[in-house]
Symmetry: C2
Subunit: 171 residues, 2 copies
């Protein structure tokens, strides 16, 4: 992945991280992968970005070992690698900051510990049982700020109207 | 702050957050503010970005209520607002992901609980006492991956060669 020259003098780990995931759209693709999107079509339908841009971003994420291409019939699916899955605290923290400051009706989506259906907090800890919860044990379900059913009809949005376990394929 | 049109159809809190902090340089400015940079000159010297770009980004962060301008003698300082301080879990998660995957010599900087000098983990919990640690109770100090002393001589880098409490001014 080409490194933006502007960050070249910034050796801090934040700068290095932004080289990989600071690219426009990249974290939205990673988020969708946590939500269970796997096919090119799912990412394209949900994010509504030009297909050439999506191709470029997916290839960059594969090159950075955040996503891996997995044969699926005659096509490929994109799945998070362990390195990609370790982005969950970042993605979750970004979502929660947005929920806190830009979601007047409340969170659009809730992140719950699958075992007891209690909220998982910013630190990744279940507010019910107090355990640190891996993303594979988190259920996502619509919150008070969820968009009305007529707002979008792409396959990802429709699938996420029902509770869904993170990292499980949507279909 | 102008919203990138490309995100307009993305109502999720992650997209809204990226509208504010996904801009190139923005999270590096916020990071420096956590480290104690406050004056225009400190941000400019450390980040080495064009002054016009820095002015634009600082104004956008003030407009988004992430930074506030505070009179300091005949000039202004930029300090994180409570909303800005609530970005700490995000900044910390991004730094830790970079440390995990892009710091072969180990972290450049360590984040320690001031009271017992034990590491604070990704979830913001002290690995020593198990308490959730606010950024004001975190000491930053050079880690095994810290750059050699001759690598940079800007005021921020030099000040951070000594242990420093987050959010306290560097000078």
């Amino acid at each position: 992945m080409a490194l933006p020259r502007d960050y070249a003098e910034q050796p801090c780990s934040l700068a290095r991280t932004l080289e990989i995931v600071g690219e426009r759209w990249t974290l939205l693709i990673v988020r969708d992968a946590f939500y269970g999107a796997r096919s090119f079509g799912e990412f394209a339908d949900h994010l509504k970005i030009p297909r050439a841009v999506l191709t470029d971003r997916l290839n960059a994420l594969v090159g950075a070992d955040v996503l891996q291409k997995v044969a699926h019939g005659r096509r490929f699916h994109y799945e998070l690698t362990p390195k990609g899955i370790s982005l969950w605290p970042t993605v979750h923290a970004l979502i929660q900051w947005g929920d806190e400051h830009y979601a007047p009706r409340g969170p659009r989506r809730l992140f719950l510990h699958a075992a007891d259906e209690q909220l998982v907090d910013t630190g990744g800890v279940c507010t019910g049982c107090g355990q640190a919860i891996a993303p594979t044990d988190i259920i996502i379900k619509p919150g008070p700020g969820a968009e009305p059913a007529h707002a979008a009809d792409d396959s990802v949005t429709v699938a996420l109207r029902e509770p869904h376990r993170l990292l499980q394929p949507l279909r």
